[in-house]
Symmetry: D2
Subunit: 451 residues, 4 copies
């Protein structure tokens, strides 16, 4: 997963972008970058690390200009190297182009092979670079038309912000896999992966960029922005996992409150898998909190913060030679003994992928916290299929639910009972306009595109 943010008309465009990226830090902590432009020239800064580390005062001061795009990276395709940080900035015959991409192209490998055979040289192992090479090969001399020609050749997930010397372009693939929203800031357009970024800078949320939509902002006259739909129509397939896990709860996603959706997931989960006779409902913080509140409200079982999360986790932790049991989990999560001791506890989390963390946590709740029974409730269906559209899931064989029954998983993690939200339950909790739908391939295996 990654985040993108862009601003078309603000005298401190790069500082606004930096703040927008900070608000979107949860979508990618590996590295960040900004490309801005003044007088037709680009400026770039890209480094590994968190947004607050990457952009120093002097770095931001060098990123002149009234238009900027930014990116925070969460490693997906193409290892963790400097060359893979975004926005990419490259020069070709029609000038320089900066590009920030959230998503993943499914035909990148085939296109790369074809382009290399024709003499193209790739700098990165990043699927995004394919788009720029396709633009460079285009006969179109206008970057906007070259971009459309390039995107017609790629398949998969892309929410893109593209900056060229006189335009800022926002575009979302026809399925609409990854989110992209439009806001208004001091009269000019801003773009972001999530609305929470608008709250920080004080911009007003206007609407989603629609699946398949391209919005072009002329830098000379940002208000004259133009929206077109240059691609063939297809089914809308927004990512449902964003609603469950990735988006911040204070964001508005697909025109709905993420927090409210998650509380609703908890409510439906309580209907589907009640935990009769339990004493307390506790979330795995922070992401399990809204669903746990919903579960508690619906079931009538009291809610409590029975697990404390430490927010001081650095990159690497040094473990003693004589290893500490369940070390990794203990560094982050610790039970509040008096809240759970001797009790039948319902633990609500939003996902269960490999199961190793859950297994250790449950042990810690029993050993350190003294829980009498531990009933696990997951506010999503079992994750059984890998994502090819930009979410960094393990391979199929590492996904516990791909090869284990729910009973086997319960046994493995050591819970007294285990319940998942059903796919039907999930989908009915979110209302969409008629004819639109979700990509739920990670749960159902129904991939909207050929893989």
């Amino acid at each position: 997963m990654c985040a993108i943010f862009g601003v078309g008309s603000h005298k401190e465009a790069s500082k606004i972008t930096y703040l927008g990226l900070h608000a979107l830090q949860h979508r990618g902590q590996e590295g960040a970058g900004i490309v801005s432009t003044t007088d037709g020239e680009p400026h770039v800064c890209r480094r590994k690390g968190h947004v607050a580390e990457v952009f120093t005062e002097s770095a931001l001061n060098r990123l002149h200009g009234s238009a900027a795009i930014g990116h925070t990276r969460y490693s997906t395709t193409g290892g963790n190297t400097m060359a893979n940080l975004q926005p990419l900035l490259m020069k070709s015959s029609f000038g320089w182009v900066g590009i920030a991409h959230n998503g993943n192209l499914v035909n990148a490998a085939a296109l790369t092979q074809k382009l290399e055979a024709e003499g193209s040289i790739f700098q990165s192992t990043n699927d995004t670079e394919v788009i720029i090479h396709l633009m460079a090969r285009s006969r179109e001399r206008d970057p906007e038309r070259a971009l459309i020609e390039a995107l017609r050749q790629v398949e998969g997930a892309y929410s893109l912000l593209v900056l060229v010397k006189d335009k800022l372009i926002a575009v979302r693939d026809p399925y609409g896999f990854r989110p992209l929203v439009l806001g208004e800031f001091l009269g000019g357009p801003v773009f972001a992966s999530e609305t929470t970024a608008f709250d920080l800078v004080g911009a007003a949320y206007k609407r989603e960029i629609a699946p398949g939509e391209m919005v072009v902002v002329p830098l000379e006259a940002p208000k004259n922005m133009v929206s077109t739909f240059p691609f063939e129509k297809t089914l809308k397939r927004r990512c449902v996992f964003e609603a469950i896990y990735f988006a911040r709860p204070d964001s508005v996603l697909y025109d709905q409150s993420v927090h409210t959706m998650r509380k609703d997931f908890g409510r439906v989960l309580a209907d589907e898998h009640p935990a009769l006779g339990a004493d307390v409902v506790i979330p795995v913080p922070d992401s399990g909190v809204p669903a746990a509140i919903g579960f508690a409200e619906r079931s009538g079982i009291p809610f409590d913060m029975g697990i404390i999360r430490s927010h001081y986790i650095g990159r690497t932790f040094i473990e003693p030679g004589q290893a500490i049991r369940d070390f990794g989990v203990k560094l982050k999560l610790n039970p509040v003994r008096e809240a759970i001791q001797g009790k039948k506890v319902v633990v609500v989390d939003d996902s269960l992928v490999r199961g190793t963390t859950s297994k250790k946590l449950i042990k810690h709740l029993r050993d350190t916290g003294g829980a009498k029974e531990v009933h696990v409730r997951i506010s999503a269906p079992p994750t059984a299929y890998p994502c090819f559209y930009g979410i960094d899931t393990p391979t199929r064989s590492e996904l516990l639910a791909s090869s284990h029954s729910i009973e086997k998983i319960r046994d493995y993690i050591g819970a007294d009972s285990l319940g998942y939200l059903s796919l039907d339950g999930l989908l009915k909790s979110i209302s969409l306009k008629s004819g639109e739908g979700f990509c739920h391939a990670c749960f159902s295996g129904e991939y909207p595109t050929p893989i």
Copy 2:
């Protein structure tokens, strides 16, 4: 505030101490240090920064030995310089001494002046160094007796861990201002400011070190530890602010669960200052959560996580020249619009010191979140007096409650109503053994010692 941690007998003493300090990171983020010992020689590492940054693998590997003490620093007296990081390690006639101190001495300035007049030279502006100079001046050649002689001359708050070549000593001042607990780890003793540190390393909590108690652990035979009470008896005055704010909710403080105490504060607060007709109770995360849960339970008003806290805050943030309204608060806290829009909201927090943050947050809840009414409830009495015992409070004139009525404060922060927990309500929520009491000078101005 600061944290201390020590281990008397473990072959990887410094790694255990490092983990203990990590669990206590909330008590001080400015810098950290460890002193360990092997074969009578000390090893030391002290640096600015978080525990996870300060101690690299190679730094820990150089901290040999089976006994170690550690410290995380939260700036109190004596500016933020390298020389003020602890544990202090100094050499005097009876050998080297390492010392880690949580607390603040109230007669340090007078003692320093006297010692300098006699030819002592101070390295730091740290009150802790006074103790070592008094030890060096002692006629006692045994460090333990020299320490007792020194401590009999100082006044104020100290929970200390002292390491010399053959002993680890833990001592708490007669009032017992700052906490200090004893645990057992693989058969040997461990000491910490809070029990949560024991949970991480897998040690068992045994008991509080009593006010006025000194525990001496011989490094050759750690199990033969000896407890004495070498100081004149006085009233017990444990810090009540630890219970309200400083300690981690998963710790056991003064033999009681911090989480439970805080929920109880919320319950009594709901009795004292109900918010009739309110729609939702939301905490200021993370510290306001337990009291908000207690308030919600008692009042019957639904609880919700109406504010999201960002945990990616770096050291400094760069604001655009054209300043963003309520910038500092927005970086950290953002309302969940759908949870509060159009509602009468009760916001529960654990303290209100200068009032500037509350004022901005309330504005943000109204402007961005759309709250209809904002009723503030503080799970502590008004903070009207500075602390001289180790908590870093502003000067009296900066404390809003020292010179403003509650109505004036309400008006200043822009709340629809404002209620504080009463001192009586606070004290009755915590039960102590007969004859023991709290230091609540920050609320009452009743300082246990001359200032």
Copy 3:
């Protein structure tokens, strides 16, 4: 100017390359890099800074393999950015290619424009990258043949080391502008810009790579290396400035001792411009030393080290606000008063480009050193034309000799007399095989290629 070094068969190829680059550090201090290969995969490390800073132990340990090429960069074309450090490492349809280049292509801009129009995307502003794009566009699937095809399209100066998955290729342009030598190390081939690199690692110098020669080393059987001359023959035009200034005095250049050549320049200079009646000959250290010794020997005037050079010069020096006269020169050079006070001094240097340093030095010799007369002798002809073949000279207008008579220059720098070695005198001091010659365009303006 830059340096290149390569080794075809040594189990610690990257460490040998690192030492070779260290010995060639005088040819470029801006940055350095190494590409090595094992099992068909490349490894790369490139950073700004001196060789000893760039390559840490762990960096070298990651550069596995028995073949490696390295480069130290002295900024020529294409500003000082990370992207311009070499060796370049790029991937195209026939696999990866690493390339280290000393020299400068004169038709790079035209070729870049043509390639971009056909859809190529350039990473750097480095002329070397043109070669790789030409290779990628070639129909030849063998990298060696693709390289020949590419080089037939470029014009200018290149001594190249090219590493592909199964071959190490060394090639020198038909004019032979820049040096390149072949050595033998433990039975395998080594390549370097100068022989001094062989002395450090203990390799034996075999011969120059001839102008227009390509040597291909199969990595599987390094001894089976093959030499060919794949380009059209042309006049040999080795750079004479290497002999005067750039090469280290302990190197063998064009099969002659650099130190001896420079002493000979000093001898001929003494014949052409004697300094009758002078008391002492002093060099501008370190580069003026050999010519000064030759001048002293021939003229019979005593030699002395009348100027001391400081070798502790960092990157930037902070000058007081109240500026110090001739600050920049004083930081580096200081007269030995007793050696020159009251004397008629002959100062020998190897070049005089802009004249500003000489002007300050002469003033310093008079003011601080007390010299009575200062007679400047330059062991080269006046530098009147810029170099387009890889030496970083100022533009024509900045070259003092391009627009000033010798008398005017003497007047500007404040010398009592000034004498340059004549071009004839220079050329007759160096013997070459019949039919071979030098590029002396910087002195004569006779450029061997169209510019």
Copy 4:
């Protein structure tokens, strides 16, 4: 060895001091520091590294004030830790005191033990700190008188610069072991270890500070400086090794030119140990150059730069696993083959301590350079005794000449012949005023003080 520099009255005192320290960098590369003062308050910056790295623009800007003292450290007593960098800055009852020390006290250990027994606590393992503790213990409330009282108790070598809130004090021990000179800069006094520092900043050299002299500069009226001789008179014993090795050749030491003294050493050496029939005289650069010129002039054998020194040596060099023969020497020194091949070579150096470097160099001259015979001439007597007055010599057992005859040393290093300058020859080359003499304990074992 170390360097000190101080300025009493200049609006940019710290920048002048920084430049002075840079000119004295050869006397200590381990670390550097400056203490300056404004309005009675001290400012300090001390770090490991070279002067150019230690003092950034911002660091210098924080070192306000018109008086400053500085120090560069060459590790002598007391390992390489931050705490041992100078100037020391400490606070005692009469205020703060900054102190920069070149030299070594021989009774420091005894004084430290006595002070610790009385309750003093030492920060460093630096003998200089003893002086401050003695000052702090003094009954004198005036720092100047306290300093005199302290210095009357210490024995050994000290050239000191001391800064207190209203005075800058320069003092040299009665023997005058280490140098200290006085200059004038824009009407105010400057102090330095060597005169070369005056050349860089443009100050005029006035005279030596005499052995036993104390100069006090009132900061309010720097021109009213006062000179006194507060210590008992003793024999003058200036260090002769400064003349041979340590001082820069462009300095004036003990009122004589270092360069000229060294050329004279070479001349006397040629008389004492001629090398009849030799073809060329070559120095070990850079320090052997003046003596080699003197030797060549006197003997009539031609001088040449037959060895090239690399000035790019970083802190650590990584050697291949398959070690390179004579690696350490080769990194620094390389023969010029044509200058020595087949020749009988006289190699002139200024010292031979452990002999390991000479042994490797001679081998390198034969193997790589092709020298036919190597005759070593040392422009100093054999170093047979350790120095206790501030020069960092090995222990007696490591000094080759302490236990080996000259014939054995010759045999060990592999020279064809070996000659040292005699002590008589050395002393007669330097003229001093009647009644004054040198410390030559390193050659003769005649220590001026009890050890």
